[in-house]
């Protein structure tokens, strides 16, 4: 067992399985590089999830049902306004009760009933995939990019969408060119929905001038009438969070111009056929739901970062996205985030520079960038500089304990307790990626609670936690931790100390 083997499995991967460090220690870098190929088929837990069509269709059905039920209870959803009675106003949020009174119609209750099990299943499938994968570096990259191009179910109306987005937009594109990943993300209905672009209309477009011309859409049921103006949310977040990075020199005028460019990038109109036929025909898969609607697109040239984009239609947006993808600020931003994710909260500038240079020289070939990371000496320095996130902590512990089993609801509650519910980061900037955020009194205690429960659920009388510790952590296992595990009163206690140890939490 070599320290490079431990680092490959833990710092780049999702934690070692028993015996894995020994198996990869001969060529840890080769093992990592071999994972940088596109996926030939979806991992089984993901393939058996409901389809994107089902996720999005369920949302549409749910909206129709609550509207009908609200009407039956005499609550006109469309007329609820804060100016009304306080109780009615309170219900105007997704998480409130629509009538406020006990026993009345409750949006929250209906919503939880319809979507929490679906969300829990998706979280469990993501977890099972990460625990079972033979390509943990690839899977880490999936998690990394899903945390870069963020669609979050923390916006209640988007709760069904993140898993579909991960499958359709991220997984097929993460070993290719950054531009393709960016385009796949921007075209995906989940992103167009989460960051409101499907609602954004060019003020001088046909629809902007006459809102009655707006085409009926798949999402019409949960769009609000009279939305006929610009919404700059997606444009801003693409510049700030997905490409150039904040404070890289763009202005409010650039944001507004880019928002005009992206008008018309929307979610497909529903043909006048029943929903089930769309499902059968496969038209409701995520990629198939993108539509460019010229009637909503702001006509005319736009200037962004000093360059004039005179293209018509969807070409204008694609041209801007391609330019953003190859902008030097984007190269630097992506390089910094990758280096921070895998190596150190304050990544060495030499490493960031090397990754950014590779990004620029390869026109954003992500596989080349990952390879440069793997070949960097900074990434294999023995001292751990990263503290695992709660999700990675739980995944790595489950990989260490092959007998560990959990249920969707239990898993979701554990993640919620630790402050990181997968698919639900608080905002479009994703989960924080620094120790300062994740290491606090509460989180250290929660990990201990979780480790203790997990250890008790798998411990057997004949188990040797000290052998497992040596297998998982190799030369990084400290004498003190090895000794504490060896002196434990029971296998369960030994396993708990192993999982809660500093060596297991840091990488």
């Amino acid at each position: 067992m070599t320290i490079e083997g431990v680092i490959a499995a833990n710092r780049f991967g999702l934690g070692a399985r028993p015996g894995q460090v020994a198996a990869i220690s001969g060529d840890p870098k080769g093992w990592l590089l071999s994972q940088l190929t596109p996926e030939t088929e979806l991992p089984l837990p993901l393939a058996t999830l409901p389809s994107t069509a089902d996720d999005m269709g369920a949302f549409l059905r749910w909206i129709r049902e609550i509207a009908a039920e609200a009407q039956a209870h005499g609550t006109d959803l469309a007329k609820l306004k804060p100016a009304g009675a306080p109780d009615a106003a309170m219900g105007s949020g997704m998480s409130g009760g629509a009538t406020g009174g006990d026993g009345g119609f409750s949006i929250e209750r209906e919503y939880v009933k319809a979507f929490v099990p679906r969300h829990a299943m998706a979280v469990k499938a993501r977890f099972d995939t990460a625990v079972a994968t033979e390509r943990p570096f690839f899977e880490r990259l999936v998690h990394f990019w899903v945390n870069h191009f963020v669609v979050s179910g923390a916006k209640p109306a988007a709760i069904a969408m993140p898993p579909a987005f991960e499958r359709d937009a991220i997984r097929p594109n993460l070993t290719g060119r950054f531009a393709d990943l960016l385009l796949a993300s921007t075209r995906h209905p989940a992103m167009l929905y989460y960051l409101d672009n499907f609602r954004s209309v060019g003020p001088n477009s046909k629809v902007g001038k006459d809102p009655s011309l707006r085409a009926p859409r798949y999402v019409q049921a949960f769009a609000v009438p009279q939305m006929t103006g610009l919404n700059e949310n997606l444009a801003r977040e693409i510049l700030e969070l997905q490409t150039l990075g904040v404070r890289s020199g763009y202005s409010q005028a650039d944001v507004t111009s880019f928002a005009r460019v992206l008008t018309g990038w929307t979610i497909a109109a529903p043909p006048r056929v029943p929903l089930y036929r769309l499902v059968v025909e496969g038209r409701l898969n995520g990629k198939g739901l993108f539509e460019f609607d010229d009637d909503e697109h702001e006509p005319g040239a736009q200037r962004i970062l000093g360059k004039v984009y005179a293209q018509a239609g969807v070409d204008q947006g694609e041209a801007v996205l391609h330019d953003l993808a190859r902008h030097p600020a984007t190269a630097h931003f992506i390089a910094t985030k990758l280096a921070r994710h895998f190596v150190a909260d304050d990544p060495p500038p030499s490493l960031v520079d090397r990754l950014a240079k590779t990004f620029r020289a390869s026109d954003g070939d992500l596989k080349e960038v990952y390879a440069a990371l793997v070949h960097s000496a900074e990434a294999f320095e023995p001292a751990p500089r990263k503290f695992k996130t709660p999700e990675d902590y739980v995944i790595s512990a489950a990989r260490a304990l092959p007998a560990y089993k959990t249920e969707p609801g239990t898993l979701l509650r554990a993640f919620a307790s630790m402050g990181q519910t997968p698919y639900n980061p608080p905002g479009p900037n994703g989960w924080p990626d620094v120790e300062g955020e994740w290491r606090g009194a509460d989180s250290v205690w929660k990990r201990f609670e979780w480790a203790s429960q997990a250890a008790q659920s798998v411990a057997t009388a004949t188990m040797n936690p000290d052998v497992l510790a040596a297998e998982l952590l190799g030369p990084t296992l400290s004498k003190q931790t090895a000794q504490a595990i060896a002196r434990a009163q029971s296998p369960a206690q030994g396993l708990t100390l192993l999982l809660a140890s500093a060596e297991f939490q840091r990488r």
């Binding site: 105007s92 109306a157 609000v224 402050g419 509460d442 500093a502």
Partner: protein, 386 residues
């Protein structure tokens, strides 16, 4: 008396372990309590505190003005969902601050929150938080005086002073023997984890069992927990609680808009804190702040986009309330910041330093360490009761 340094040494050596009774730790030197509430996502200050008496208000809001607001004075009112806060206002326990902003003038939530929390004059200007630096200036205590009611450690509380944190758990408390062994192991291998672990054990002794409901009601539960930490005579003195979901780009006042619900949550949370604190409310100040305001006019999707100045609240029995503090910039087109936002006329740091000086007791030299700035920030006078 055990000094702070001695206690850290004890923790570091693994001797401070499970169940150490709180009474053996020295109490804080002050009875004053401070709660900072961060509203993440940028609260629409003109919805929470509409300037109904400004003749330009209704036109400027182009559709976002509403009836039924609770009148505060000739110019300002409160959203009807802030009825509890209106009662505090009437009792002289709430001050509303309007057209207030941090030093941040761009429109990124994340930069805006970073600056709000780091207390410098630019995003990422410091990697510690101003509330932690304030704690570090308080008289030494044998135990953490700051607590985050949060499973994360928010930037505002990161820094040199040891702080604790607590959030509800769905997990099962482990056995005491394993906890003692782990505390000892951290003591030998990882001083940071050792400190966190010891703080967590103490925090669980205070807050374990506090009911925190899901959804918008969570905030009231966390405020109840905050009250438990702060109420005790030997308890924490500074708490931080956050509530997200204020980024109302779309349909903010309509059937699926989050703003109304969030305001209910805020109102109930302040009430829960007051109830939980009991008599200690008289020694308490609650500072409610968001990263920036939102556009004055409605956007194209019945919401508002990222703006600049907004509203903040200062509540508590120690506050000289019952008034609105504003140097009102007006809402005529020429009055707006960059033709779209409410113009900032009060620096948030003037409010924060006014509270830290007159309530927490920091002197001006210390305030300069809490909010380092090129030009001195003048603390606002008279925020607290004499």
């Amino acid at each position: 008396m055990v000094t702070r340094r001695q206690t850290l040494t004890l923790i570091g050596s693994g001797l401070a372990v499970a169940g150490l009774p709180r009474a053996t730790l020295a109490a804080a030197d002050t009875d004053k309590r401070l709660v900072v509430v961060i509203l993440r996502g940028a609260m629409d200050g003109l919805s929470a505190v509409p300037a109904t008496g400004d003749p330009d208000f209704e036109r400027a809001r182009n559709g976002l003005a509403y009836g039924g607001a609770l009148k505060l004075d000739a110019t300002f009112a409160l959203h009807p969902n802030l009825a509890g806060m209106k009662q505090l206002y009437d009792a002289g326990e709430l001050t509303v601050i309007h057209a207030v902003a941090t030093a941040y003038r761009d429109r990124s939530h994340f930069d805006g929150q970073n600056l709000l929390e780091n207390g410098s004059e630019r995003p990422y200007g410091l990697d510690t938080g101003w509330l932690n630096r304030a704690l570090a200036q308080m008289p030494p205590s044998a135990k953490p005086l700051g607590v985050a009611l949060d499973a994360h450690m928010p930037l505002i509380l990161r820094g040199p002073a040891q702080v604790t944190s607590w959030a509800p758990s769905f997990l099962v408390p482990p056995d005491r023997d394993t906890a003692q062994r782990l505390a000892a192991l951290y003591g030998e291998t990882d001083p940071k984890l050792a400190q966190d672990f010891a703080s967590a054990q103490a925090a669980n002794g205070v807050a374990a069992g506090t009911q925190v409901a899901a959804g918008y009601q969570a905030f009231a539960g966390l405020m109840t927990a905050a009250a438990k930490f702060l109420a005790a005579s030997d308890g924490e003195r500074i708490a931080m609680v956050e509530i997200g979901g204020w980024d109302t780009h779309v349909n903010q006042a309509g059937p699926f808009g989050p703003l109304s619900t969030n305001l209910v949550a805020l109102d109930r949370g302040i009430a829960a804190l007051k109830t939980g604190l009991g008599p200690a409310w008289q020694d308490t100040a609650v500072l409610v702040v968001t990263e920036f305001g939102r556009t004055v006019a409605m956007n194209g999707t019945q919401g508002t986009d990222h703006g600049t100045a907004g509203a903040a609240f200062l509540a508590g029995g120690a506050v000289r309330g019952g008034r609105v503090i504003a140097d009102w910039p007006g809402l005529k087109p020429a009055d707006l910041f960059q033709d779209r936002d409410l113009k900032p006329t009060i620096d948030f740091r003037a409010i924060a330093t006014g509270v830290l000086r007159d309530h927490v007791g920091l002197h001006e030299g210390q305030l300069a360490l809490v909010f380092p700035s090129a030009a001195p920030v003048r603390p606002r006078d008279g925020l607290m009761r004499a």
